[in-house]
């Protein structure tokens, strides 16, 4: 079958491994199905695999994009997956049948980003400076005005119908029903990642110049965090919108945004990784933070505890991390194509006892 090179290799770690498989190239994107029963993963070669979470079995694999895939996203509360690639296309699939439903034009050579609206009503795509909004049926709902530079990140505001897009120099917030941005936030610099706090109050971005910037969206008040060793692409909010975990080096910097916010406070610093961080992810319904680095190490952290609860070693650099919706499992995608699902619920309970 295309997309899978070989099966299961054991890895040494102290988190129980549910299963492991190897894809044909670097795992560039992972998405859990809304019911948590399936996992989809896209590789740098353009293949997409659908795994059965319980058995670890590969249910389907198909070549989704020539020249490589960039993103796979499962529609919230839906059955379809959307994929994007370096062939300039967006494709909607029936993942279980591996059947192409619809093919859409991103508007530029590479489609870099995809994001379903929280309700699953719209699919947003970013390709070069083009931001497009599609309906579930794959009909172009809106093409927003051309961005002056390549769109670096897009993110829907949680529980809202607002989409933020970042490109060099500015962030804009758009609504599905208007061509005009609802808000434009000017920031002179190159942004690499966007993250809304779950309560939708804060929008923050990690930057090429080794800073993290915060916006309190309502007031457009801003804060800037300096002093990182390198550029920041790893950002994760905890479910209560209190902690923002940031990468930009080998140590994790966690800002406490409760009370008066992080201004003039000292962040919590979590040290374990020896290589540059590549991924950070909080559980959606629990307190755990997962971190992954280019050295192939995984660590699981809880709250302000400066010791990791667990660690695990993977065969190559961590490329993707995704918690299951119920937070009991963590899916890890590696640069060499390894896909691993780790069990966290029982181990967590045991560790706490």
């Amino acid at each position: 079958m295309p997309g899978v090179a070989q099966q299961a290799i054991p890895a040494a770690h102290n988190l129980p491994e549910h299963w492991s498989a190897v894809m044909d190239d670097c795992v560039v994107s992972i998405a859990w199905s809304p019911d948590g029963e399936h996992l989809s993963a896209a590789s740098a070669s353009g293949s997409v695999c659908i795994f059965n979470v319980e058995s670890g079995g590969l249910e389907r694999s198909f070549q989704a994009h020539d020249f490589g895939a960039t993103s796979v996203k499962w529609r919230p509360a839906g059955k379809e997956i959307a994929t994007a690639g370096q062939d300039g296309r967006i494709r909607l699939w029936d993942p279980h049948a591996g059947k192409l439903i619809r093919e859409l034009e991103g508007g530029s050579a590479w489609v870099d980003h995809l994001a379903w609206s929280p309700s699953g009503t719209y699919l947003a795509s970013a390709a070069g400076g083009k931001l497009r909004l599609w309906t579930i049926e794959g009909i172009l709902h809106r093409e927003y005005p051309q961005h002056p530079n390549t769109i670096a990140a897009i993110a829907w505001r949680p529980n809202a119908s607002e989409l933020a897009s970042a490109c060099y120099g500015q962030i804009q917030i758009w609504r599905p029903d208007s061509d005009q941005p609802e808000k434009t936030l000017q920031w002179k610099g190159s942004m690499l990642a966007l993250a809304w706090s779950p309560d939708g109050q804060y929008l923050c971005h990690g930057n090429q110049d080794a800073t993290v910037h915060f916006w309190i969206v309502r007031s457009a008040k801003e804060l800037q965090m300096w002093g990182y060793p390198t550029k920041i692409r790893e950002l994760a909010w905890d479910r209560r919108s209190r902690y923002l975990a940031t990468g930009g080096g080998s140590q994790i910097t966690v800002w406490d945004c409760s009370g008066r916010g992080p201004t003039n406070t000292k962040p919590i610093v979590l040290k374990y990784h020896e290589d540059l961080l590549s991924q950070l992810a909080y559980q959606r319904n629990g307190p755990l933070l997962a971190s992954g680095c280019l050295g192939g190490r995984i660590a699981i952290w809880e709250g302000k505890n400066r010791q990791p609860l667990f660690t695990a070693a993977m065969p190559s650099a961590i490329a993707q991390l995704a918690w299951s919706g119920d937070g009991t499992r963590l899916c890890v995608g590696c640069e060499d194509g390894t896909m691993t699902v780790l069990e966290t619920s029982e181990s967590t309970a045991a560790a706490r006892r």
Partner: protein, 452 residues
């Protein structure tokens, strides 16, 4: 940090290809891609469609220059390259080589800096060199006015003077002298149809610290104290030497006998002349006689038409070295009423009356450096003049260190490390700056003040 042998460097080499529109970048790219070299090459083009070879990966990119929030020029990078190369390096099918073509109007600074300020780029890619194509004919339309042309020439590790069929040999010499004066560290090649050997443009090691000083020997060519030399074949006799009042009130000359006009003997006379020109000159006024030999003559040129004469006793070949070019003083040599022409002549100073704002300053000095003083001087220099310093590289002898210290830099970015131990050769310091409005005397003075 430790020294790394180049072949052990697992990072993929990247070559930046610059040059004005029409200079032949696309022709060179196509040549590289169509040649049978067995390498997998990825090309980042500044637009789609021109290069077309099936088995290679060609990615179109729009130059997106990103300045960082702190406004520092060294943080100006090509955002599109970080994104595209970041994606490319994830793939399992690795490339042996990456070529980045810039648009004709590009400043090479941000492209080069991209490979030094971004950690991700730095761990996976190694900037190998900047290759600049120059249209030998049409470059003259821009070389005085366009900052981009000047920058592209100044940043280059390799300069290819292309389309040589459109110009005469003299024009080509003039161009080579001109670009050499701007960038003394680059290797210069000439080509007809961008048909330069691939080995000369790929893997040049321009940013390789271990090879920092492995440059064209011309790079360290001394600055000659004379601008012109003529070799004359003179029978015995007295030869009037007429001049006109010129830009200076006096001029030093030396008239040295040479055994014959073989290049070896002529070359030896150059070294004699260099030494001679550092000695005290003997004043000569209009009407006086000059005899060949190891003596520096200072001709007084205050009169309207000063006239001297050369007294030749033994017939043979003579080398006349003049501090300035003969045409500046309309200097002519006569035999009776006939003009005597040199059998050979050579200019020692590139023909640039333009006082190029872009130039190279080379420093070669024996002795050990005081590390603290050097650090302080270099950081001050980069802080104040980093914008104007395009490239620098060098080998330093630090006091108390057994190993050579090698460095290179782009604008304010300084990259240096200890290299192999000094061999028995004399420890010395050798460095070069290429940039805009460089003050040669001040740089030398500043560097010398760092000696321990």
């Amino acid at each position: 940090m430790e020294a790394r042998v180049e072949n052990d460097d697992p990072r993929v080499p990247v070559t930046i290809l610059t040059g004005f529109l029409g200079s032949g970048k696309t022709t060179l790219l196509n040549r590289i891609l169509s040649e049978q070299h067995g390498k997998r090459i990825a090309v980042i083009e500044n637009e789609f469609g021109e290069v077309g070879v099936d088995q290679e990966l060609v990615i179109g990119a729009e130059e997106e220059i990103f300045e960082m929030n702190n406004g520092c020029i060294c943080c100006t990078v090509r955002g599109d390259l970080i994104r595209i190369l970041g994606n490319l390096m994830k793939r399992r099918d690795k490339f042996d080589y990456i070529l980045v073509e810039t648009t004709g109007m590009a400043d090479p600074g941000p492209v080069a800096q991209t490979f030094f300020v971004d950690d991700e780029m730095q761990t996976k890619l190694r900037l190998d060199g900047i290759v600049t194509l120059v249209d030998a004919k049409h470059v003259w339309m821009h070389i005085d006015t366009s900052n981009e042309v000047k920058e592209q020439i100044a940043f280059a590790d390799v300069l290819v003077l292309n389309k040589t069929d459109l110009v005469t040999t003299e024009e080509l010499e003039k161009l080579e002298a001109r670009v050499r004066a701007m960038n003394r560290a680059a290797k210069i090649f000439r080509s007809l149809n961008a048909d330069v050997e691939i080995g000369k443009v790929l893997n040049v090691g321009g940013f390789n610290l271990g090879r920092a000083m492995e440059v064209d020997p011309k790079f360290m060519e001394p600055e000659y104290p004379f601008e012109w030399r003529g070799i004359y074949s003179l029978p015995r006799g007295r030869y009037p030497y007429f001049l006109k009042r010129g830009p200076d009130p006096a001029m030093n000359i030396a008239l040295l006998p040479v055994d014959d006009i073989s290049s070896q003997n002529v070359q030896a006379s150059v070294m004699d002349a260099v030494l001679l020109f550092s000695e005290d000159a003997v004043a000569v006024t209009s009407g006086e006689i000059i005899r060949p030999g190891r003596r520096l003559h200072q001709l007084a040129l205050t009169e309207e038409s000063p006239a001297f004469s050369f007294e030749i006793e033994s017939p043979g070949a003579y080398a006349l070295y003049t501090q300035h070019k003969p045409e500046e003083f309309q200097a002519v040599l006569f035999n009776g009423s006939c003009l005597v022409y040199p059998v050979q002549e050579k200019d020692f100073k590139p023909d640039h009356e333009h006082d190029d704002e872009v130039s190279s300053v080379g420093i070669t000095t024996p002795g050990d450096l005081d590390k603290k003083k050097f650090n302080k001087w270099m950081s001050e220099l980069l802080r104040n003049q980093g914008t104007d310093i395009f490239r620098m590289k060098g080998v330093l002898s630090l006091k108390g260190e057994d190993n050579r210290f090698v460095f290179q830099g782009v604008h304010m970015l300084f990259d240096g490390r200890p290299d192999r131990p000094w061999r028995e050769e004399e420890r010395h310091n050798q460095l070069i700056f290429i940039g805009r409005n460089l003050d040669r005397a001040r740089l030398k003075e500043g560097f010398h003040s760092c000696l321990a």
